[in-house]
């Protein structure tokens, strides 16, 4: 197991470098941070050149990338557009998005798995058909439309929850945004659980459990669910990275000042330090979440052994 983890961590290095370099190239090569610095005014060429030199922007791209990575590993993520260090923004933004993601995952697990189990065990019945239809509707409507509609109907018209989240983003204000963020994944979790349950219901070992005279509850909880949820749990694990990235949409709708908000600001203002810095952290979160999921898989399914 230990050797496997080390191998996986080593494998992450090229992926990490590749992903961050890709973003770095997009941000630096395609946009002109100096032009953005001056806003609408045309920059004076001499001043522009000086700024370029000062920030090392006249060096080759790979050199800039190495400089940047070197700084990151000393804890220097550069300066954001408002003069604050990027790390300050991170300190305020990541806890907010993390909380939002956790709320979303909570709903994914509770609602998604419940619906999945119900439909998986009652395939072809009206409840199955209607839940499946609902998941399709949720998947086919863009998240931001759903977000606005739910914000308007639930928060504005019914007065439940807040249409706009305060900067501190306490947990109770994040319930509605969390549901919006979770919606699409929730639909996938429901469908995945349903498929998995339906496949396992006919498994021989479930028949054995019934033949052993176990109560129905125990057959379902201990034998059927335990096996069926393995792929679902791994899906939810790999989804953490996706949720944090997808939070851009939700955070914009509900005006939440998290990772997505800061990234969006960074992109609008061509502040490369903010964009590359936040993306770097997101990539690390994604890679680690994937590693954890694979390790969790081995814990849940004894047939899998990593060497």
């Amino acid at each position: 197991m230990g050797r496997y983890v080390i191998r996986r961590l080593l494998q992450m290095i090229p992926v990490f470098i590749g992903a961050t370099f890709l973003i770095f190239v997009m941000v630096y090569a395609l946009g002109d941070p100096v032009a953005a610095f001056f806003g609408d005014r045309a920059p004076d060429p001499a001043t522009a050149a000086q700024i370029r030199h000062q920030y090392g922007l006249d060096k080759p791209l790979w050199h800039q990338y190495l400089d940047y990575m070197g700084n990151i590993f000393t804890g220097d993520f550069g300066t954001a557009f408002n003069g604050q260090p990027v790390t300050e923004l991170m300190k305020s933004a990541f806890p907010v998005t993390l909380r939002l993601t956790l709320v979303a995952i909570f709903f994914e697990i509770v609602i998604g798995i419940t619906f999945g189990v119900i439909t998986g065990m009652r395939r072809g019945r009206p409840i199955d058909t209607s839940v499946l239809l609902m998941t399709l509707v949720v998947i086919s409507i863009p998240v931001f439309v759903l977000g606005y509609v739910l914000q308007y109907v639930i928060a504005v018209q019914w007065g439940i929850g807040e249409p706009s989240v305060s900067p501190e983003a306490p947990l109770n204000e994040l319930i509605l945004p969390g549901i919006v963020l979770a919606l699409v994944s929730l639909a996938y979790v429901t469908r995945l659980t349903r498929t998995s349950i339906a496949e396992n219901t006919r498994a021989d070992y479930v028949r054995t459990a019934v033949a052993k005279g176990l109560p129905r509850r125990r057959v379902i909880l201990r034998h059927l669910l335990r096996n069926s949820l393995i792929p679902v749990i791994t899906f939810i694990g790999t989804d953490i990275g996706g949720l944090m990235g997808g939070a851009i949409v939700t955070e914009r709708i509900f005006n939440i000042q998290g990772v997505g908000y800061q990234l969006y600001q960074g992109i609008l203002r061509h502040n490369s330090a903010t964009v590359v810095g936040f993306v770097t952290i997101l990539v690390i979160v994604f890679l680690l979440a994937n590693l954890l999921v694979d390790l969790l898989y081995a814990v849940l399914d004894p047939r899998i052994r990593y060497a």
Binding site: Q11, P14, V15, G18, A19, L22, I23, M26, L30, G31, L136, V137, I139, S140, I141, P142, V143, F144, V145, Y148, V149, Y152, V156, A187, Y188, R191, L192, T195, P231, T234, F235, G237, T238, D239, G241, G242, G245, G246, I248, V249, R252, L263, Y264, I267, L268, H270, V275, V279, L282, V283, F286, L287, N290, V293, D294, Y297, D301, R303, I304, R305
Partner: protein, 327 residues
């Protein structure tokens, strides 16, 4: 008796990084086994049929398939010739009619700028369908070829490709879109399509790789190899026909999601921009006006959702028809 360890059962292992899993990929995993099963007996007395003709036999009787196929056909027709059903000009607007509701000749009412919502919804189909179809074609070609070759040849080629797709999987797609498209000034559909192909191909590559590996192990492929057939012939004649089904299914479902992604990117201000007419642009304009003029949101959003739904259901129906396990 000494214990014998049964190694044949160790093959259950998670695939690669397990990342980038979504509806299409996760549900298509079951299909990976499908085509390998070869012809299924058509019934108690019928002749054995091929996988595809068997699937076609099922599909013709599936109302979901028929409805979604007809819808898609209709969409393609109106995106080619929108004037067939809409006589107005989507860019001819009258500010004095801003946000007015339904009235004779203008059943969907007017939007913020006083443009006719019906005309704009009809004309908006073109951009969405173009983005969806072109992005999917690009993704399927690039991903299918790269993934297929990686699966067939294996070895270093496969390892390198796996790492490269891991890199793309690690970048959240909306985020990548924001960064990539925020610096593009061209407001046509092409940068959007290019970006989707760039970030979308690893998903298809992963599916294609898996199904080629499954197909490669079939006896007839081994037989063709033993008879000295060259790689091109084996790939094109023996493997591609059997490995292409999962790719088609996943690509069909992905097509719907690309259309929705275009709308999201337009809403974030980096996708298509006016004067291009697109559902995404109209939806994002309407979404902030939901309190005053919900009709502005309803029609373009409804049209987009039905389109996405049609592609997802088509993919679903094709998958069910191709998967012998579900019969």
């Amino acid at each position: 008796m000494p214990e014998e360890y049964d190694r044949s059962n160790e093959s259950v292992a998670p695939t690669g990084m397990g990342g980038g899993m979504d509806l299409a990929a996760s549900e298509a995993q079951t299909l990976d086994h499908g085509p390998g099963h070869g012809p299924q007996p058509g019934g108690p007395t019928g002749k054995p049929r091929s996988l595809w003709s068997d699937a076609w036999h099922d599909l013709r009787r599936n109302p979901i398939f028929i409805i979604s196929a007809l819808l898609i056909l209709f969409l393609i027709v109106i995106s080619l010739w929108p004037s067939l059903i809409a006589s107005g000009n989507p860019l001819q607007c009258d500010l004095s009619k801003s946000q007015q509701g339904s009235q004779p000749g203008h059943p969907f009412g007017y939007d913020n700028q006083g443009c006719d919502v019906y005309t704009r919804t009809v004309y908006g189909a073109r951009a969405s369908v173009t983005v969806g179809v072109c992005a999917t074609a690009g993704v399927a070609l690039l991903g299918g070829i790269l993934g297929g070759l990686a699966g067939y040849f294996g070895g270093a080629w496969d390892a390198v490709l796996s790492r490269i797709s891991d890199i793309f999987f690690a970048i959240p797609i909306i985020l990548g879109g924001l960064v990539f498209l925020s610096v593009v000034t061209n407001s046509t559909v092409w940068p959007v399509i290019g970006f989707m192909v760039l970030l979308g191909w690893p998903q298809i590559a992963r599916i294609a790789r898996g199904s080629v590996i499954t197909a490669k192990q079939n006896d007839y492929v081994q037989a063709a190899k033993a008879l000295g057939a060259n790689h091109t012939r084996i790939l094109l004649r023996h493997i591609a026909p059997n490995a292409v089904a999962p790719v088609i299914v996943v690509a069909t479902i992905a097509l719907g999601t690309y259309i929705a992604l275009e709308a999201t990117l337009s809403w974030l201000g980096v996708g298509l921009k006016p004067p291009t007419v697109s559902w995404g642009i109209d939806i994002s304009a309407a979404s902030t006006q939901i309190r005053n003029a919900p009709h502005m949101l309803l029609w373009p959003a409804g049209a987009l959702s039905i389109t996405v739904l049609a592609f997802i259901m088509l993919g679903d129906a094709v998958r069910d028809a191709l998967d012998p396990k579900l019969r």
